[in-house]
Each structure stands twice: as C-alpha cells, then as structure tokens.
C-alpha cells in the first residue's frame, strides 16, 4: 500500500523548472528521506505535495488521492508538514494553546481542551508551557510545539523539512528520538528532507539522492553502512559527509 506516490513530476517557480521528472513511491508506515545539497529541489517536492508550489505537472498522490494545485483541506487532515526553523514557523503573538487549537477549529473538531493537553504530553512538554509564547521557549521546545501542531489532526503522513537542522546536537537527539517514537506508536509515514546523512541513518528506511532537480539514486539506508552507492554524485556526497571512515 503506497502512502505517497510521485510519477514523472516536474515542478517550477515562475516558469523556471527546478525539479525534473521525479518518480518515487513511499509505502505506508515507511520513513523515506530526500537528501541533497541546497538548491537540489528537495524541499520543493514537499511544497508541491501540500500545494504550496502550485506549478507542477505529472502524477502525484497522497494516500490514494490525487494532489491538487493548491492547499487542500481534506489533504491537510491526513498529511501535515513540520518546517525547518521553529523560530520562523510559529506565530510570535499566539500562545501555544492558540497554535494547537487552530487546526481543530478549522476542521470543526471538538474536545479541544483535552486534545491540546494530550498533544503536549505526547511531545514531552510540561502543561505549564500551554499558555506561553514562542519567545518564552527554547529552540527544542518550539520544535516540539511545531510537531505537536502537526499531530493535532492525527495525520497518517508527516512531511518533515529539515526538522532538526536549526537545533543543537543534544536537542537534535531529543527531537529525533521523539520522531522515532511517534512513528512507532502511531504507524506514521515520514517523508523527510535533510542534508544530514547520519540523521537519515537513524530515522529512515530508504532515501532518494537529489542533485540539480533530479533524483540520481534511490538507495536503502544500509548503503550508509557500507557506502555502496552506485551514482558518482551520491558517492561524493557520502564521502563529504564523513562516510567511509574519514571521521575519527
């Protein structure tokens, strides 16, 4: 059963094509990574899936429903996104409570009080954070709020755009553990964008390596253990990330 399916997808901004002929499938419950350097088009793929990059052609579907060229309420219910920078993705003048209640109000879901409380405890935040503003929290706490917000609608698919790259290593470890636990508990499907190969090694099953808007290779995470990539670009990326024993 496929959760996300892309067939020959081209994506552009203002007439300029930035992603070309991308094809991959993510199975339900799988954790799939898109890796590559900045400008390789990996975040653009996520944006197109949720309708934030409307200039695309080809075939895209999430959980068996074809994607449309704009944000879609029904899709949002089942597929949520977590952004890179928790300093930018939370509204500075809304409390945590307001941020977490908003998706429930939009989708007309009741029992908000209990749901907000549960979401906070799911991501390991104390209830005293409920009425705080983003500036009263650390980066790691904010990213937990952003993850809690994505979980409010109980989605089946999570799109993660560099969820830990703005965080310190010790905080990154906490957030990675959290994402891993949530996936195991709820059978979530992850599509994660990152440039950090060791993070892929920890959290994902398979990865697609992107370069200049194209997928050059799809490999299992096992390739990170022995460096068995076939494409020269993926090999170079692996070596630059300290793969193949050059670290320590």
């Amino acid at each position: 059963m496929t959760a996300i399916s892309l067939g020959n997808v081209d994506i552009g901004y203002g007439g300029q094509r930035v992603v070309e002929a991308v094809t991959f499938d993510v199975a339900r419950g799988e954790s799939f990574a898109l890796v590559g350097e900045s400008g390789s088009g990996k975040s653009t793929v996520l944006k197109a899936l949720v309708g934030l990059a409307p200039e695309w052609s080809g075939k895209m579907s999430v959980l068996g429903r074809s994607c449309v060229h704009r944000p879609d309420r029904d899709l949002a219910r089942r597929c949520q996104m977590v952004f890179q920078d928790p300093y930018g993705s939370l509204h500075p003048r809304k409390t945590v409570d307001a941020v977490l209640s908003e998706p429930l109000t939009i989708h007309g879901i009741g029992g908000q009080d209990a749901r907000v409380e549960r979401a906070l405890s799911d991501v390991g935040l104390d209830r005293r954070f409920r009425f705080r503003y983003p500036h009263q929290m650390s980066g790691g706490q904010r990213q937990r709020v952003a993850i809690a917000r994505a979980l409010m609608l109980e989605p089946e698919v999570m799109l993660l755009d560099e969820p830990t790259s703005a965080l310190d290593v010790s905080v990154q470890a906490e957030i990675l553990n959290l994402l891993k636990r949530l996936r195991a508990e709820r059978g979530l499907t992850y599509l994660m964008v990152t440039h950090n190969l060791p993070v892929v090694s920890f959290l994902c099953d398979r990865m697609a390596v992107m370069n200049k808007g194209k997928i050059v290779e799809i490999a299992a995470t096992k390739a990170l253990h022995d460096g068995r990539f076939t494409d020269p670009y993926s090999k170079a990326l692996y070596a630059a990330s300290g793969g193949g024993g050059s670290t320590e």
């Binding site: 310190d168 010790s170 470890a173 990675l176 090694s201 920890f202 630059a240 670290t247 320590e248």
Partner: protein
C-alpha cells in the same frame, strides 16, 4: 612566549535578574597552533571570540586579562585596536551573505581590507588581490573580482571572506562557525583551504594561529590540534584533538554520544540530563 594568553575572561550582560556572565572566568593560552572551541548555543564560545577583538558593545562588559603578542588588549585605545583588527587578528564570520558588503564588488572589498592597513601603489594592490583570490582557489580571479556578493554561491562567498581576512597577513585568525551556512560538500573544501593557508603561513611571515569556533565536535577534532569544550560560559574540558575519545567530562561525553553516526544501529540516541553537570 604564547601568542595569546587569556586569563579569567568574563563577559557579562545585564538582565532583569542582575548581570549574567555569558563567559564566566575562562583562561587559556594559544601558541602557534590550531585551537578549537566547541559548545552548544549559549555556551559563550562566540562571545569569547568577539571579546578578543573587543567587539562587545555596552551594556555588555568584558573583564579579565587578554594579552596578544605581549600587548594588553584591554589597555589599547579604540584607534590602536582598529589598527590591530584585521591586520594582526582577523575573523571569519558565519554567513558570507550577511558579512559581505552588498553594494561593493568583491575586488574592491578585498582591496579595501589591504589598503586600510598598508599603503601600497594601486597596481600592487591589484596584484595582491589577484594573488589572494588565486590562493583561495577561485579559478577566474579577474572575473570574480568584478562580481557583487549576491552573484556568488555560498562556498565562493566564504572563500572571498577568507581572502579578505587573510590579505593583511594576520598572526591570528578567528573563524566563527565558518562553514555552518554551507553545504556539506563545500564545507570540507573551505575547511581544507583554511587549514592549508594556516599551515603554509606557519613557516613564512612569522606564522599564523587559528581559533576555530564551532558546535560540531567531530569536525573540530578533524581540523584542530587542541580542543576546548565550553558549557554555560566555562571551559569544561581541554584536550588534544587526538585524545577526544578519551574525554572524561560528562558534558563532552554526552555531546559525542548524541550525534547520530553514519552507520547508526542504536534504537535511541542518548539524551543528556541537563541537571547532571549544572554544578560544574
């Protein structure tokens, strides 16, 4: 004699609860070597670098002794300090997109860095700029010298920054997170470049020392001789880079363990208990 010696350095800022020491009494000496300062955000590592160049403005306050080539940095006038900055100690900042002047061509900026400190005929300035761009491995120096910052890629921008900082031939280079805004594939190139330039300089021109400030422990271990680990404004561990795996402080051990590995098999990453070393 040590090139730089720092004794009981404190940097404090006012807060509603009184003054807070963001750097809390650190001491170290630096010779002709590559020193890494590692820590997480808020550990005071960048403030240490800034304090050395006297870049901390009121209400921030710097106390303690800093001697560079026998001179007491705190005793210098602002004018003397300006002559020292860039010429004797220079600093590479994190993101070239913000630290380069957007309305000046690259060549003019590099030339300016040189002209402020040395009076040279125009032709020689141009030759030195060319030679410097060449040594940071920019393939077409004449074309690049005519470009503006927004026309450069991240890696290229950082090379230009390095060229600008090294052209007056400083004795000490402080690199504050020089690669964290760059892609992994470019990171290695830039660090290797800094490394080569530091090594080349160590014979001619009286040598150059490096302070590399970063949050990335494995990376610092690869490019430095000695490492200082900072937490909450203090140095919690000081060791040779090759002995990093023998590090004993729980904070250092925690940092090392928290980084996912390329061949990760752990089901869960160890998380640091923040209260464990709060008293140290």
């Amino acid at each position: 004699m040590a090139l730089l010696s720092v004794e009981d350095l404190r940097v404090s800022f006012p807060s509603p609860q009184g003054r807070v020491n963001v750097v809390d009494g650190i001491s170290f000496e630096l010779g002709q070597e590559r020193l890494g300062i590692v820590g997480e955000s808020g550990s005071g590592k960048s403030m240490t670098g800034r304090a050395l160049l006297r870049l901390i403005r009121p209400p921030g306050r710097v106390e303690g002794r800093m001697r560079f080539e026998g001179q007491d940095l705190a005793a210098l006038s602002e004018r003397q300090m300006r002559a020292l900055r860039g010429a004797r100690i220079s600093m590479i900042m994190q993101d070239p997109r913000y630290s380069l002047n957007p309305v000046m061509t690259v060549g003019t900026q590099i030339a300016e860095a040189l002209r402020v400190h040395e009076h040279l005929p125009r032709r020689e300035v141009r030759a030195r700029v060319r030679q410097m761009l060449d040594s940071v491995r920019i393939t077409d120096p004449d074309r690049v010298a005519g470009l503006y910052a927004h026309e450069l890629s991240g890696g290229m921008g950082q090379r230009v920054m390095i060229a600008m900082m090294l052209i007056p031939r400083p004795r000490l280079l402080i690199a504050d997170e020089p690669t964290s805004a760059l892609d992994v594939s470019v990171q290695a190139d830039v660090l290797r470049l800094i490394d080569d330039l530091v090594r080349d300089r160590s014979t001619a021109d009286g040598g150059m020392a490096l302070i590399l400030i970063s949050h990335d422990l494995p990376l610092v271990a690869r490019y430095c001789d000695r490492i200082l680990v900072m937490n909450a404004g203090r140095i919690v561990e000081s060791c040779a880079a090759s002995d990093l795996h023998l590090a004993s402080h729980p904070y250092t051990r925690g940092l090392l363990a928290a980084v996912p590995k390329m061949n990760e098999t752990r089901a869960e990453l160890p998380v640091m208990d923040r209260s464990a070393w709060a008293g140290t």
